[in-house]
């Protein structure tokens, strides 16, 4: 394997791994806070047990998120030293603030996990909220750093030199808000559907139904609200990309030729060699509308961009299709769920709806990873858009392929162990968290 490809793959792997855990770290504290709040208000022990059960799971994820994050902060230098040499001082502001947010999160988590029966109960609840808020803040901050790579700001690039550096301006670059908004929603969508799905599965199997129903409802509400807002935020993102990174937009839609008006492609097979797409469904004018808010507008195609600045089209296009496809499906599930709630139908009887939620367990995360592929692969060949090429940033050390294999093995085994632990956690619910056969509650 080519060292350059190995470095890119290792970066992608580490980030793709980390993002799953960090999303859980960002979102689960809010679910726990709701359940915790209900316990404090209603004194229903079931909510207390639910909070505890969730917090055990979160501790596992949090540790994995923390070590993979530590890994990343070294990896930026291990793999991309020439990038960090210049970028560090410019886009470092969010990272230094993020340090604070992480720290607060870690401390608050210590309080929360070990504070049962030791702290004032409302202070204890509050520490749980602090975990959530600081986790969310750190997510927003890193994304702002990533947005800077897409939309560099806060410096003047003169003769290969980075002058007049302004870290604050760099942090508030043009892309930070749209990206952070979309990312936060995605975290809620992905985690919410995954959690709701797991509990839906347990309800379908008729195990501790009362317990899992409570859990399901909390997760599902968060997930479905986020999934409703997701396409709106995605639309803002697309318009934003059209403005700042036309090459990425063209790759997302496999738009090889500039068109006016431009059609939206759904599906299709991209042939990068003859620069064509076959078998796609075309919606006339829709891309013009998506990108510029006007059905007649011109959309820049790849023909207007120098060949050596083209991102990989096929990957970007497929990833975009996956994200949007899943987003649409989740939107549909959310609407159905809200409709059911509105009609005050009993969930337990709507087994098909619960089955849909089970189906959605991996989908949110799939969309999330796909979205990141769109953003990151679509930025290629640039590591700092328009300024520095990824190839020029890679470490001079040979043999990165071996490092890639080793880390792949590590991440793979960690994923297996975490899945296994989670499975056990859920299997042990009847023993640890819900000793009273809760089904009797329900039917009595």
């Amino acid at each position: 394997m080519d060292d350059f490809i190995a470095a890119r793959s290792q970066m992608a792997l580490s980030l793709g791994f980390h993002i799953i855990f960090s999303c859980i770290g960002m979102v689960m504290p809010f679910f726990m806070a709701v359940s915790h709040y209900k316990w404090l208000k209603t004194n229903d022990e079931m909510y207390k047990n639910l909070t505890k059960a969730w917090s055990k799971g979160v501790a596992i994820f949090f540790a994995t998120g923390a070590v993979s994050g530590t890994m990343l902060s070294f990896e930026l230098g291990l793999l991309w030293p020439k990038f960090m040499d210049h970028a560090g001082p410019i886009f470092g502001m969010p990272f230094s603030l993020e340090g604070t947010a992480f720290f607060i999160e870690a401390i608050a988590l210590g309080f929360f996990l070990y504070g049962w029966n030791k702290l004032n109960k409302w202070f204890h609840w509050f520490t749980g909220m602090v975990v959530g808020v600081s986790g969310l803040a750190s997510g927003i901050l890193v994304v702002a750093a990533n947005a800077w790579m897409n939309s560099p700001a806060g410096f003047d690039f003169v003769n290969g030199q980075y002058l007049n550096i302004d870290p604050i301006q760099a942090m508030f670059n043009k892309a930070w808000f749209t990206q952070a908004l979309h990312m936060c929603l995605a975290a809620f969508t992905a985690t919410g559907f995954a959690v709701a799905g797991v509990h839906a599965l347990m309800i379908l199997r008729d195990r501790n139904t009362y317990f899992h129903l409570k859990a399901f409802k909390i997760a599902a509400v968060f997930a479905c609200i986020a999934a409703l807002l997701q396409p709106l935020s995605g639309d803002i993102s697309a318009k934003d990309v059209a403005k700042r990174q036309p090459a990425k937009l063209a790759a997302m839609e496999a738009l090889y030729k500039t068109e006016k008006p431009a059609p939206l492609l759904i599906g299709g097979i991209v042939n990068e060699k003859d620069k064509s797409v076959t078998g796609a469904i075309k919606i006339p004018g829709a891309l013009s509308f998506l990108a510029h808010g006007n059905f007649k507008a011109e959309v820049k195609g790849l023909d207007q961009i120098p060949e050596n600045e083209h991102p990989p089209v096929a990957i970007t296009h497929y990833a975009f299709q996956i994200m949007v496809g899943i987003g649409t499906l989740l939107l549909f599930i959310s609407l159905t769920y809200f409709f059911t709630l509105l009609k005050k139908k009993s969930l337990i009887e709507k087994r098909w709806l619960l089955k849909l939620f089970v189906l959605a367990i991996p989908l949110g995360y799939l969309a999330l990873e796909a979205g990141w592929v769109v953003t990151e692969v679509g930025r290629q060949p640039w590591i700092i858009y328009g300024i520095m090429r990824t190839r020029d940033a890679v470490t001079p050390m040979p043999g990165i392929a071996y490092s890639f294999y080793i880390f792949t093995a590590i991440y793979l085994s960690l994923s297996i162990i975490v899945t296994f632990l989670l499975y056990r956690q859920i299997k042990m619910v009847p023993v640890l968290y819900d000793k009273v056969e809760s089904n009797t509650h329900l039917h009595s």
Partner: protein, 369 residues
Amino acid sequence: MIKSNPILICIAKYEQHEANLINQYNQNTGVIILNMKEVVITFLCMAILLYFLLGGADFGAGIIELFTSTKNRSRTRKTMYHAIGPVWEANHMWLIIAIVILFVGFPFIYTTMSVYLHIPLAIMLIGIIARGTAFVFRHYDAVKDDMQWLYNRIFRYSSFITALFLGIIAGSLISGHIDAQATDFYTAYISGWLNWFSVAVGFFTVSLCGFLAAIYLIGETTETHDKRRFIKKAMFMNVAAVVFGAMVFVAAQRDKIPLIDWVFKSQVGLSAIILASLSLMLLWYLLIKGKTKVLRILAGFQVTMILLAISYAHFPNFIRLKSGDSISLLETAGPDKTIYSLGLALLLGSVLILPFLGYLFYKFQKKEE
């Protein structure tokens, strides 16, 4: 007291070097306006020191477990979990803080390390991943079965490896073996860290971590039997530290590193070593007498003094290169605006964090009656 504070000494030294960057006094109010570069460097020193002490004790816990006979292991593990469980996450934040300060404020140092010490850094990272996850998995696994055996194994060995490579990396930075002009793989990526001095520092670090952990654990148990066990462990680790410490000096001689000059020819280095030795004697006295009250402070003080003695002479040089050049914190600091906002972020962060962190330690250190 003031003299012995490594941070103040670092700053004092720095002022001598950079006459143009000394503190500016605001004449009207008499308030000292700190130079942001100093603030940032102080935070960096503090983060590294705290990582050595707290993270080190944390690694040490695994190392102690490794050297505990099978029949006592589960007791050691319990005490340890009780002791470091609530704070272990926070202990490792110091490493991240240090790294972020480096890559934001001192990118040249960060990238030089990353390139030439790629291999030991990667090994250390694997260790961090393995022990961090194993530690949590073994506690949170809902079923306690044979998997525990695996988690324990991983936790112990990776604690050892991580501490070893942390020491190797620290040693390599000052060993003068890093060769930025190397043309072949071995000189560029291997001999910079695989040399007698770096490895000796590695083992020295392992024993210091074990020592810190044993001292820490003594105060965490109420059982006399366990207490005696940990006291023995602390003595064992301390002897090991002295032996490996001597080996560091031998290796330095062999590798032509002027360690003896650094430590014994500078007043600060010498005083630090004398203070460390004095506190060592006091510590042994207290250990033998079974008095465990001030042990932690003494141990922390001792390790701080050792770090000070080793690093003072070439401060603010962070990396010594084979060519004889050094990479200095002062000369390679990022642009002013970056340093300024970094310093501000750090100050703001500590205002938010320190009270919270202090409360965490306070709340969970109190013995449950």
